[in-house]
Every structure is written in structure tokens, then in C-alpha cells.
């Protein structure tokens, strides 16, 4: 009887310890891809890859955007071999590489350099090595609702770089639109996120928020940051922009005709084109009067887990999405972000211009101009995750009415403590 008890215990433990299979019933090797894109984003690319690699099957594991980092941290951090490939946000690459999550792919540096646009290669490099394959690049534009502007008698902004409006003009015209029936003047796609607000800070002459050796010293409590944050606070306290709505819900606010202006990335073009009754146009990302034009850049890259059970297949798949122009282009059907792959980029732009018609007038020239001249990377440091998490919460507090100087002072103090951990590990700041 005791042996039966022991057997039951062992069976129970075995069930707990078992991981998901990495081989299909027909013998094909299964690789799993963890990402945060909408279902179907990679379907065409996976189908194409599997047709070229019949002995490999790719299983997607999509998770919500806000959960991706936690999933990578929990699963790859626990050396889970069932995650082979995962989407990596470029500024998080140093942190993920330093924790041993990513495979060093430096032997592909030359191939990546030849295949993708230059800023994309830089975005996945850290400490002299390359850690991921760039998938997409990004930028930001000023979308506007033609009907709401026309109703207010506001002239539509031009589509070329020299037509760029200042934030002051956008607010003024947005206010007019609001007085003429628009629910809000302006909204941000990635509201309260550093990706969206870094260009505003840089445009006003403020720093990136991190400085010193290894980018491990906070610098968010100065006159430049206070000025931009005062503007951001005022925009929301005056109800020109909405409070209490999460970034996930913001595109829908524009799509449903509630916003006169919407600051967002090229990934929204497809969604807005499909929205019936939405009559929109695109203009250059604004800048502060007296400042310089700055736009955000870098989108997702694809990293190969150090603990992949099929590292060769995983790497082949990551290469396919990034270096193979057909593979790269196949990732842009549903998610209309520009591929980092040069050949696919040209085809993507041509396709977007063809599909978008009047809504995307001048898109090709403007996107290329922004990527070449106004794009600014986010800081590359092992402390970026701590920085972004803290500062995004500060942005959110400020949007919802917190005192600006007090919030920035608190963020500066908290970041000083959080980043101390990395400074302790690497006092010389080589990270």
C-alpha cells in the first residue's frame, strides 16, 4: 500500500515538472514564439517559413503588450526551454542580454547590417555585440480628423516636413475644433509612455532622463522636464486631452471620431483605414516653438532565447522575419509597421501609399525623412526597464493631476535608488 502512495506522489510531482512538448506527433520540431501583437500578425510569415522548413512548426504565444516583459522575465528567466523566440523591445535589449536571456547573434552582424536600415542595427547592439534581429522600425505622426477640422474652419496641416506644426499651434487649433463639437482637441496613442513623450522633451531641449556612466544616473528633475510636464499637465487638466483612458483604448477614441488630432505611429494606419466613417489625414509630428523637431523610433526586434530547445531552428525563424525580405514583408499585412528590412521597407511603403490613398498623402517621403533626420533612440542601458516603469507612472500621475515639481522630484529620488543596484554591480559604468 505504501508503494502505491509513493507512486501517486511521484506521478503528481512528475506532472508538475513536465514542460510542454517540443516535438510534434509527426516528428516536426516545434518552436514557440512569444510576442504581444494581435492574433494573425505573423500568420502569413509563419506559413511562408513553414513551407520552406517542413520539419519545423512555429507556435505563437501572443500575450498583451503590458504582460510581455513579465512573461519573458518569468519564463526565460526561469530557463524555460519551451520559449524559443521572443519579441524584444530594443531599449530592453541591454537588460535582457545582461541577464542572459538572449543569444549573442554577433556572427550575423554583417548580414543584419546589409539587410536592415542602419538605426535598426544600432538599436539591437549593446556592449559591442548584436543581440536580436530587427523586425520593424517606427516613427510618429500627427493624424487629424478631416471632418472635425472642417467643421471648426481649421485648415488641414500639410503632409511634408516643412509643413510641420508647433505644439502651440496644434493646441490652439484643437481647441477650436473642441469648441465646434470635437470631444477632445488632442490625444496620444501611447499616452503616458516614454516612447511617446521623449520626443516632446527632446524638442524642448530637455535631456533623455538618464545620464552619466552607463546611463545609470537619473536626470528628470530639471527646468526642461518641468516645462514639458507643465504643458502635459495643462493639456489634460483643461480637458483638451482625455484623462483616465489607458494607451490600449486611445486609438479607439480617435477612430470613433472623438479627437481632432491624434499623435500616433504608422502601425495605426491599417486600423484607421478599416474604420468606416473615419475621414483622416496625416501630418508631421509637431515640435515646440523655438525647439527642434524630434520623433520616436525603433520598434520590435526578435530575440532567440538562450534556453531554446531548438536554437538552430529558432535562429532560422528570427533571421527569416528580419533578413529575408519576403518574410519581413509578410509581417506587415495586419500590423502596418514599417519593416526594418530595406527591401521589404520599400515594398511596404509602396503598398501603404497604394492602400491609403488620400489619407496617407506624402507618407513615403515623410517617413523616410523622419527616420533619417529627426528620429531619436531611447537610452540603451541595463537600467532602462526600471527607468521606463518609473517614469511612465510619473507621466500618468501628472496627466491625472499630480503636482509636477513634486512628481519629478519623487521620480528622481526613486530612480536614484533603483539604479543604485546596477551601479553597485558595475561601479565603472561599463554597462
Amino acid at each position: 500500500m505504501l508503494s502505491a502512495v509513493l507512486a501517486v506522489t511521484l506521478a503528481a510531482t512528475a506532472c508538475v515538472g513536465r514542460t510542454s512538448s517540443t516535438t510534434a506527433d509527426d516528428g516536426a520540431r516545434i518552436i514557440r514564439f512569444l510576442h504581444s501583437q494581435p492574433t494573425g500578425t505573423f500568420s502569413a510569415a509563419i506559413k511562408l517559413f513553414e513551407s520552406q522548413h517542413p520539419d519545423v512548426r512555429v507556435e505563437e504565444q501572443p500575450v498583451p503588450f503590458d504582460d510581455l516583459n513579465a512573461q519573458v522575465q518569468a519564463r526565460v528567466g526561469a530557463q524555460d526551454p519551451s520559449i524559443d523566440v521572443f519579441a524584444a523591445d530594443p531599449p530592453r535589449v541591454p537588460s535582457q542580454a545582461s541577464r542572459g536571456f538572449l543569444t549573442d547573434v554577433s556572427d550575423d552582424a554583417q548580414a543584419i547590417g546589409q539587410a536592415v536600415v542602419k538605426p535598426a542595427l544600432d538599436s539591437v547592439s549593446w556592449n559591442g555585440k548584436v543581440w536580436a534581429y530587427p523586425l520593424w522600425t517606427s516613427s510618429s505622426f500627427l493624424f487629424y480628423n478631416r471632418d472635425l477640422l472642417a467643421k471648426a474652419g481649421v485648415q488641414e496641416p500639410g503632409p511634408a516636413a516643412p509643413d510641420r506644426l508647433t505644439w502651440e499651434q496644434v493646441v490652439e487649433q484643437g481647441r477650436k475644433a473642441q469648441q465646434s463639437g470635437a470631444r477632445y482637441a488632442l490625444g496620444f496613442d501611447q499616452v503616458d509612455r516614454y516612447f511617446q513623450l521623449q520626443p516632446l522633451l527632446a524638442s524642448a531641449g530637455a535631456g533623455d532622463g538618464l545620464t552619466g556612466a552607463g546611463g545609470l544616473w537619473p536626470d528628470v528633475d530639471d527646468a526642461g522636464w518641468r516645462r514639458v510636464m507643465d504643458w502635459y499637465a495643462g493639456l489634460h487638466s483643461s480637458r483638451l486631452a482625455p484623462r483616465g483612458i489607458s494607451p490600449q483604448q486611445m486609438p479607439e477614441v480617435f477612430a470613433s471620431g472623438q479627437l481632432a488630432y491624434f499623435v500616433g505611429g504608422p502601425g495605426r494606419i491599417g486600423q484607421f483605414l478599416k474604420t468606416k466613417g473615419l475621414n483622416f489625414g496625416m501630418a508631421p509630428h509637431p515640435y515646440f516653438a523655438g525647439g527642434k523637431p524630434v520623433t520616436p523610433t525603433d520598434s520590435w526586434a526578435v530575440g532567440v532565447s538562450r534556453y531554446s530547445s531548438h536554437p538552430r531552428d529558432a535562429r532560422a525563424f528570427a533571421r527569416f522575419l528580419s533578413l529575408d525580405s519576403a518574410g519581413a514583408l509578410a509581417t506587415t499585412g495586419k500590423q502596418t509597421l514599417p519593416p526594418a528590412n530595406k527591401v521589404a521597407y520599400d515594398r511596404y511603403v509602396a503598398q501603404t501609399v497604394r492602400d491609403g490613398g488620400r489619407s496617407v498623402t506624402g507618407f513615403q517621403e515623410l517617413l523616410t525623412h523622419e527616420l533619417d533626420t529627426t528620429a531619436r533612440h531611447r537610452p540603451r542601458t541595463v537600467g532602462y526597464v526600471d527607468f521606463e516603469t518609473t517614469i511612465n507612472k510619473t507621466f500618468s500621475d501628472i496627466r491625472n493631476g499630480a503636482d509636477v515639481p513634486e512628481s519629478l522630484r519623487a521620480a528622481q529620488e526613486q530612480l536614484g535608488q533603483l539604479l543604485q543596484r546596477y551601479r553597485d554591480l558595475d561601479p565603472a559604468g561599463h554597462s
Binding site: M1, L2, A4, V5, V8, T9, A12, T13, V16, N69, A70, Q73, A74, G77, S95, R99, P242, R243, G244, I245, S246, V385, D386, T389, K393, S396, D397, N400, G401, A402, S407, A410, E413, Q414, Q417, L418, R421, D424
Partner: protein, 287 residues
């Protein structure tokens, strides 16, 4: 002792062992193992620093100290509120109320809704310009900044948690009231006791055991609240809803600081054990 008795006794112990085994395995894997793992993780050497370095770092961090304060404040508000409401509903719905089954079902229904789903629904309902404020404005009341003001966000989380919790804990108390012999109420009534005295001298003493269970289990579950905070506020605004579970999660899975996440877990376990021990000491549990 005959060999027959001995064999019967052995068989009884074996049966008991088999019956208890799933619970013991689950307890070991889901409770003891994570606790031990947290203690070990919190004491991992950090270079040449002393073994308590992680705890020193944690207690020097104003964010963590704030989360301790918020967690204790939350517990002081949410536990008495939920238990009082659950008790009031249980007593009310144990009386002859029309359509009592329907009311009980409606009150229990939120338990069946997954926490994440209910949090998303609340996120929309509690928007500054959402349906709840629309109703408030329609009857002439001002808008309430439910989740965006530090003065109201924690109370909003209390409401969201209680929406689920009150119905759940009520069921235990309803069952407890059903176990109280009717003759006691009849005797009290003959002695001239009104509703309050019946409640004070018959219902409450009769409910001592289920109330003790509800008090301890509710306290523990409210120390472990996570999903509503993660979905609705992520600890904000200005750290006003940063419960300790959210802190532990962010340290472990957002910033990857497993050492202080483990130390935070150990602190949480210590607080829960201390509070539950105090509850057992202060409240009589035996008949």
C-alpha cells in the same frame, strides 16, 4: 491488542494517508515550497555584502515603505467593511424575504466572474467620463475621480474587491445561521428579545466559528489582492494603491529584482502570520 485490531488500525491510517495525500502534496507544492524559496531567495548573497543586505535595501526604499502603509490601510478598511456587509446580508437573507434565492444568487454572481474580466468592466465604469459619473451627473452630483485621484483610488479598489468578496463570504455565514437551532430564537422571543437582542445573544454566539473562519480567510485573501490593482491602477496614482503584492510582482517580473521581490514576499508572509495569530489569540474560537 489483537492482530485483527492492529491490522484494522493500520488500514485506517493508510486510508487516512491516501485521503490526505492530495491536500498535503498541494500544500507542500503551492504553499510551503514558494515560502521556502522566497526565504532562500531573500538571503542570497549579494557580492560580499552581509546576508541581511536585501532586507536593508528593501526597508530603505520609500516605495516599499509606502506599499506597506497602503497595504495596512487597505486591510483596516476592507476587512471590517466586507465582514460587516456579509454578516448584514446573511442575517437579512436568512429571514423570510420574498424571492430570497434570487437575491442570494445576484449577490453571489460576481464571484463567478473572473477577476480580470470584472476589473476590465470596472475600468470602463469608473472612467472620469464613464457611465458611473454620467449617472452621478444626471442626478445633479459632481463627477468623482474614482481611479485617477490618490484620495479616491484606494476606496475604489475596496469597492471592486468587496463587490466580489461580500457575496462570497456571505454564503459561509448564511450556512452558519442555518445551523443555529430555531428553538434558541423561539426561547429568546418568549423571553421578550427583539431583533437586536436575538442577533446579539443568539446569532452572534452561534456564528462564532464561521465568523472566525471568514475573518481569517478574508484577511489573508485581502493581503493577497493583486489583479484589480494590476489592471485598474498599477499601484497609482502616486502610489496610493500600491499594495504589497503589486510591489512584489513589479520587482520580480518587471524590473527583475528577484532578491527584493523574495524579501518582500517574506515580509508579507510575516505580516499575515502575525495578524492571523493575533486574530486567533484575541477572538475565542472554542465553544
Amino acid at each position: 491488542m489483537t492482530s485483527k485490531t492492529r491490522s484494522a488500525r493500520r488500514s485506517m491510517w493508510t486510508t487516512a494517508a491516501i485521503m490526505l495525500l492530495p491536500a498535503i502534496v498541494a500544500l507542500a507544492l503551492l504553499r510551503l515550497w514558494p515560502s521556502i524559496s522566497a526565504i532562500v531567495g531573500s538571503l542570497q548573497p549579494q557580492g560580499d555584502r552581509p546576508v541581511w543586505y536585501t532586507f536593508a535595501r528593501l526597508f530603505a526604499d520609500p516605495t516599499f515603505l509606502n506599499s506597506l502603509k497602503v497595504t495596512l490601510l487597505f486591510s483596516v478598511i476592507v476587512n471590517p467593511l466586507q465582514i460587516a456587509l456579509a454578516l448584514w446580508l446573511a442575517v437579512t437573507l436568512s429571514k423570510r424575504v420574498p424571492a430570497v434565492g434570487l437575491w442570494r444568487t445576484l449577490i453571489l454572481l460576481p464571484v463567478a466572474v473572473p477577476q480580470t474580466v470584472s476589473a476590465i468592466v470596472w475600468a470602463v465604469a469608473l472612467r472620469p467620463e464613464g457611465p458611473l459619473n454620467a449617472v452621478a451627473n444626471a442626478v445633479g452630483l459632481p463627477s468623482v475621480p474614482f481611479l485617477i485621484s490618490p484620495s479616491t483610488a484606494l476606496l475604489s479598489i475596496v469597492v471592486v474587491c468587496s463587490w466580489v468578496g461580500v457575496g462570497y463570504w456571505m454564503t459561509f455565514l448564511v450556512a452558519g445561521i442555518k445551523d443555529i437551532p430555531k428553538s434558541l430564537y423561539e426561547a429568546a422571543s418568549i423571553d421578550g428579545a427583539g431583533p437586536w437582542r436575538s442577533f446579539r445573544y443568539v446569532t452572534l454566539p452561534g456564528l462564532r466559528r464561521p465568523l472566525m473562519f471568514v475573518l481569517v480567510a478574508d484577511t489573508v485573501s485581502n493581503f493577497l489582492v493583486f489583479a484589480p490593482v494590476q489592471i485598474l491602477t498599477q499601484g497609482g496614482p502616486q502610489g496610493s494603491t500600491d499594495l504589497i503584492m503589486n510591489q512584489v510582482f513589479e520587482r520580480a517580473y518587471v524590473t527583475g529584482d528577484m532578491a527584493t521581490a523574495s524579501a518582500g514576499t517574506v515580509v508579507l508572509i510575516a505580516i499575515v502570520l502575525a495578524v492571523v495569530t493575533l486574530q486567533f489569540r484575541l477572538l475565542p474560537g472554542k465553544d
